[in-house]
């Protein structure tokens, strides 16, 4: 049979954004925000995230922390995303988030407390409206859509300035229905929402190519009729530029965006994982050459805005901050057992008095 004639009804392009190449050279004119000060600040936050991660892994190894998911190699995504948001915007994080949380003002002590098995870490004293870290994969994307509904509604009904919901997830998360349902709703309701995917090439041991046949994650936006783009996730300038642009469009009422940030997980999935079991030989080494901190440092150095002394001074300052926070974490008192009832409902129902009291007694609260 000869090939039938078909009529074109729709076309889509997926584009990729990069400012700094792998050697830290500007591959195009940098965006306006990329002043030396701002770039140094971004570098600082990525360096801090790396230190926190490193320490957290060590704390876990010595039994002082539970399972911990490091962001090693992916710091540009969290920091770029967080730095592109207004503090009044709402962040709906997944769990691999150290950089973004630091940008959002979450205390290092809080981050450690969460992974140290203490709900009080989720209090986010300096980001009180952000959602807690989210473990069930992709579920937070629907929360972000819901937050977007509320922010749009409050803007229209309560004259609140338009705020934006930003959510993050991993590449594996894009296989879940929640991801797609969130994007679809955001599209059809034109929600002020930005979805940032940390495509670190792995979902635990499942490689990106075994996760989906789509050539890019960004093109999944096509299914929802929303814009989708790829950024170099090891280029913090690109991440910040893309997220900032998406956030501003959302703020202007122009709807949601899906951003795929390409990076690589330069570490085990978590401290409970051993990537040696499944990672092909050589892959890690190749990826290491593209990592985000060295790249930005190279750029700043070659532009004359960074040097060894600055680095030493920065590391000293960050180490001090870290020590202080780790100390605060280590000296926290344990939560009271009865606390597990005290926030279950706004008011403890009578039906739970007995159980609550038994627990309070056991915890020595009374």
């Amino acid at each position: 049979m000869h090939k039938p004639r078909m009529h074109l009804v729709a076309s889509f392009d997926i584009a990729h954004l990069q400012y700094l190449d792998e050697q830290g050279r500007a591959s195009q004119e940098l965006p306006d925000f990329a002043t030396p000060d701002t770039l140094q600040a971004l570098y600082r936050q990525m360096a801090l995230a790396r230190l926190v991660d490193d320490r957290a892994v060590k704390l876990q190894r010595t039994g002082r922390l539970g399972t911990y998911p490091s962001t090693l190699g992916q710091e540009a995504i969290g920091v770029g995303t967080g730095s592109a948001m207004d503090s009044a915007d709402i962040y709906c994080p997944y769990y691999r988030e150290t950089g973004a949380l630091l940008e959002r003002g979450v205390d290092i002590e809080e981050i450690l407390a969460i992974w140290g098995g203490d709900e009080r870490g989720q209090c986010f004293q300096h980001a009180p409206e952000d959602l807690p870290l989210c473990v069930p994969i992709a579920t937070q994307l629907l929360h972000a859509a819901g937050v977007g509904v509320a922010l749009k509604y409050k803007n229209e009904h309560f004259d609140e300035p338009q705020r934006v919901a930003v959510a993050s997830a991993g590449d594996g998360a894009t296989s879940r229905g929640d991801f797609y349902e969130a994007l679809n709703l955001a599209g059809v309701w034109q929600l002020p929402a930005v979805f940032v995917i940390n495509n670190n090439q792995w979902a635990i041991s499942v490689a990106r190519s075994d996760q989906t046949a789509s050539q890019t994650i960004a093109q999944k936006a096509v299914a929802a009729g929303i814009p989708g783009l790829q950024v170099d996730g090891n280029d913090v300038i690109a991440v910040r530029a893309a997220v900032a642009d998406a956030v501003e469009r959302a703020r202007r009422g122009e709807g949601p965006t899906l951003i795929e940030a390409l990076s690589y997980r330069l570490c085990d999935h978590t401290t409970a994982d051993d990537a040696g079991r499944y990672r092909p030989a050589g892959e890690l080494e190749r990826a290491q050459k593209r990592e985000p901190l060295a790249r930005l440092a190279h750029y700043l150095e070659s532009a004359g805005h960074w040097n060894e002394d600055a680095e030493t001074e920065l590391q000293r300052e960050l180490a001090e901050i870290l020590e202080r926070e780790v100390k605060a974490y280590s000296s926290r008192s344990k939560d009271r057992p009865a606390a597990m009832f005290e926030h279950l409902y706004a008011e403890l129902p009578e039906a739970l008095y007995e159980q609550h009291d038994e627990l309070a007694e056991r915890g020595g609260d009374r």
Binding site: I90, C92, E119, R120, Q122, C123, F124, P128, E129, L131, P132, P136, T139, L142, H143, A144, A145, G146, V147, G148, V149, A150, L151, Y153, K154, E156, H157, F158, A165, G177, D178, E181, A182, N184, L185, V188, A339, M340, E342, H343, L344, Y345, A346, P349, E350, A351, L352
Partner: protein, 331 residues
């Protein structure tokens, strides 16, 4: 004042709260122009606008999940699942998030959500349209589970559910959506979510049921009364947290109790009620608390559904068995 049906009472409560509180939003499939497949949201979109009463795309996980985000930002979503049989894709979001957000954020954020769904069988509906799986929700810490059984209780309890600062699963017995009419003043008076309702007084046996099954339970009580048996009929209405003490008060008086529910027997809420009566009133029991329930099988297609549902005859027989029970000795 006109008398209204249970489903009209639902509409009246929704309208009252939409009117009273701009943070209240109604959302679900076909709740807009169509007014819901049972007309529970009839006229609401026209009155309050498509922003307050929203048709969603067809995705239950989404409905359950966005409600969490909306609530975290201070709105009060009232989300409809079209039938209880389609609530399951939302269970993860309800169980893992809505029911936990307050606790896991140590009170920083909360989820004042109402998840509504028409519930139960007996209307000759297609497959998957006749579910009564309240027990799944009653096992989840952090939720409230409410089932009204009359227009007045539908109105008062739904007001309470919407005003409640925590998530409520509100199951509407669709078999009695239009079974009876009642005067229900639109006075904004909520009913308590922590008290049983005593629908009939009596001293010989306590009959406990909720939702549509109360219709047959009350008819059974009537029939027993003809034989001189006094039944106390109790509607817990709020199944979680359960007001066990009102139940115990009644059992203290009667010493005999039968639980009736439409859901499958094993692991149904009847078991929990039996266990708690045992906990608190074992010595007073003159017979084991028994259950008349749906069978431990899938709710059949409609030709056989009346065999599945507890009917008056089975309830009377169940009550008789409790009443006629005499210790075989042993203790």
């Amino acid at each position: 004042m006109a008398e209204i049906t249970l489903v009209e009472a639902v509409t009246q409560a929704l309208a009252h709260e939409l009117d009273a509180d701009e943070r209240v939003l109604v959302l679900g499939q076909d709740v807009g122009a169509n007014g819901g497949v049972f007309r529970a949201t009839d006229g609401l979109q026209e009155r309050f606008g498509a922003d307050r009463v929203r048709d969603t795309p067809l995705a239950e996980t989404m409905i359950a999940g966005i409600a969490v985000g909306m609530a975290a930002q201070g709105l009060k979503p009232v989300a409809e699942f079209q039938f209880m049989g389609f609530i399951y894709p939302g269970l993860d979001q309800i169980l893992s998030h809505a029911a936990r957000l307050r606790n896991r954020s140590r009170g920083r954020l909360c989820c004042p959500i109402v998840y509504r769904a028409p519930y139960g069988g007996g209307i000759r509906a297609p497959e998957h349209h006749s579910e009564s799986t309240e027990a799944l929700f009653a096992h989840i810490p952090g939720l409230r589970v409410v089932v009204p059984s009359s227009p007045a209780r539908a109105y008062g309890l739904l007001l309470a559910a919407i005003r409640d600062p925590d998530p409520v699963v509100f199951l509407e017995p669709k078999r009695i959506y239009r079974a009876a009419r009642q005067e229900v003043p639109d006075d904004g008076e909520a009913l308590p979510l922590d008290r049983c309702f005593r629908l009939r007084e009596g001293g010989d046996i306590t009959l406990i049921s909720w939702g549509a099954s109360l219709k047959e339970t009350l008819a059974a009580a009537e029939q027993l009364a003809e034989d001189g048996v006094g039944s106390e009929v109790i509607d817990p209405a709020t199944l979680k947290p359960l007001d066990i003490h009102s139940i115990i008060d009644s059992v203290e008086k009667t010493g005999r109790c039968l639980v009736v529910h439409e859901a499958a027997r094993t692991g149904g809420l009847g078991a929990e009620i039996v266990a708690q009566i045992n906990d608190y009133a074992f010595d007073l029991l003159r017979a084991p608390v028994q259950r008349v329930t749906g069978y431990d099988t899938v709710m059949p297609y409609y030709q056989l559904e009346n065999y599945y549902l507890p009917d008056v005859e089975r309830i009377v027989a169940g009550a008789r068995a409790v009443l006629d029970y005499s210790h075989g000795g042993g203790r």
